[in-house]
Subunit: 337 residues, 2 copies
């Protein structure tokens, strides 16, 4: 297995270290290439993600990423647009997969500690994330700034079909989340696409939620969801709520997947670089370890993925709510493999 | 006081009836004009909101609205774009004011039943709500649909200044919620505007939250917020979470305000028309009654607004979590005036 590793900024290197140690424990023959990408390199030489980086990344089976960003030294948007999103777009990561699960031993901030087990399939290469838009008369009283959400049938259909496949392999319920009553052009495309793909999956029931109503359900009745399919921005928002109700962003894993397999997929925790706690052995590596399990599953290493997940489940069941150091969590998970 | 009343669809007429009875109890000389706007009229003659309607609405001091929409008979978007949003835009309702408060006697779905008391100032006339955008090759595999978020310095500045004023009169903290790291054109405009207006309000501390992170805080630490200022779409989403954590959409009031006073402002519950429970005397009228209190306050009737709010507070303190009928709640509130 040839793995590209982007440890990144802040707590990135710490959580990636633990995840790699877990990975090596179940797949001894993994060959890793470290990439110096993120704030440090940008501040050193102004480079974000070069063509050469991309070419080299493409030679790997998958990418593991820790976290990117340092809001104290790099202006907001530079690393996000120039590196993180550039990579998702260049490698055609159209399926941004974000499972939400409340594990035994973990307490949700929701009263009654409800069971939570759903998956968000977030579109990853379109929507308001394309960078389309612009500004004129910047800095004057007449400034106008636009952001354009671009949605194509091609882009929507492939992620909708992927979501149906996942629903079919789960509890067979697919919920489209959008804002069709306001964003009527894009909303209509999304709704029609779901309606037209649905007959291919007669075992899957579909329903629809406006994004605002979906956030209410996430807080009051998260059990109603099985698979959610949604656009890039709505997906960004609701997966953070999903992480929060599931017991915290420290546990939320994600995959940025090119479902065609043409490009390597990228796996990363949902959380950011958390510079305030970087270098203090405080960050929870569980999200990165669970992302590594997703990576293994994506590469067909189902048994190994299952072993990692089982070790995480066992660790959380015993000490899920305890404050522990990064290395403590990593060691506890490895001890259970 | 000349009041335009749009009872609307579904549960709208029921909750408006209770709110008007409360209003008349504190302001006997209110003169109301009923407007037949919503699904019924649209289905009857295809009319949504005519120029004559708008002209006549403009002759009133304020507008009270129940709910608009009937998803069973009118396609999604028709009434929203053609009536509700048209009215907000035509009457320049740029300050969409949505307080969130957990009242004593009301249980939040959040564990520990935290105190919640903040206000969202949602921009109401720009952003992704403008209807800009379009679609081409509709219904083909090559369909492209766009939605354009339009943001102007003029539009952002006036709502930001309004939010600063409100923060200055409250706990003196203003949080900008946006997604500046991805929506860099609009995000930069919003952030610069906040930074440039801030010196006018030296007593107010400002901070910033990405919208995704804001949703996490709303679930895990809602006490961190005092006044939030945000764009039209982010405001739509986070005010539904705010309503949910505050004890439910049945309590969430809102004002659509033209802060210049040129046009009548419009007050409405955040909830929709809920056709599934319409006509059953089941809907909670509290949100509409609290919206009426906002209306009174907006028209300078501070004492009367305070009386209504105090009656609601007393009612909720005693029976906030009980399942009650629409009329029961209305009567209980009136009995406490
Ligand atoms: C860092 C940012 C660009 C990113 C996003 O908005 O997608 C993050 O919030 C995420 O969810 O992975
Ligand atoms: C009905 C809809 C157009 C409206 C909105 O999106 O603004 C509603 O959700 C609201 O929050 O008032």
């Amino acid at each position: 297995m040839k793995l590209a590793v982007i440890a990144g900024d802040g707590i990135g290197p710490e959580v990636v270290d633990e995840a790699l140690a877990v990975l090596r424990a179940v797949v001894p023959d993994v060959e890793t290439t470290d990439y110096d990408l993120g704030a440090r390199r940008y501040l050193r030489n102004g480079e974000l993600l070069t063509d050469a980086d991309l070419e080299s990344l493409r030679e790997h089976d998958a990418i593991l990423l820790g976290a990117i960003g340092d809001p104290r030294t790099v202006p907001s948007g530079v690393l996000e647009r120039g590196l993180l999103l550039k990579m998702r777009f260049a490698l055609d990561h159209h399926v941004n997969l974000r499972p939400s699960k409340r594990y035994d031993g973990v307490t949700s901030p929701l009263a009654g500690n409800p069971e939570i087990d759903f998956v968000v399939v977030r579109e990853g290469t379109e929507g308001p994330y394309t960078g389309n838009g612009g500004a004129l008369r910047i800095g004057t009283p007449h400034e106008v700034a636009t952001e354009v959400s671009v949605n194509t049938r091609y882009g929507v259909e492939r992620v909708v079909r992927n979501a149906f496949q996942r629903a079919s392999a789960r509890r067979k319920k697919l919920t489209l989340v959008h804002k069709t009553n306001v964003l009527t052009f894009a909303g209509s495309l999304w709704q029609r696409t779901v309606d037209e793909v649905a007959p291919e999956f007669p075992d899957v029931t579909t329903d629809y939620c406006h994004v605002d109503a979906a956030t209410i359900y996430l807080v009051t009745d998260p059990g109603r969801f099985d698979v959610i399919v949604t656009d890039n921005l709505f997906g960004d928002i609701i997966t953070d709520i999903a992480a929060a109700i599931g017991g915290g962003i420290g546990l939320a894993a994600s995959g940025n997947i090119d479902a065609t397999g043409t490009n390597p997929s990228m796996f990363e925790p949902v959380h950011g670089s958390a510079p305030d706690i970087a270098g203090q052995n405080k960050a929870d590596p569980t999200a990165t370890i669970l992302s590594t399990a997703m990576l293994l599953r994506h590469l067909g290493k189902t048994v190994e993925a299952g072993r990692v997940e089982a070790a995480v489940v066992a660790d959380l069941a015993e000490r899920g709510d305890a404050a522990r150091s990064t290395t403590e969590v990593g060691e506890s998970i490895r001890a259970r493999l």
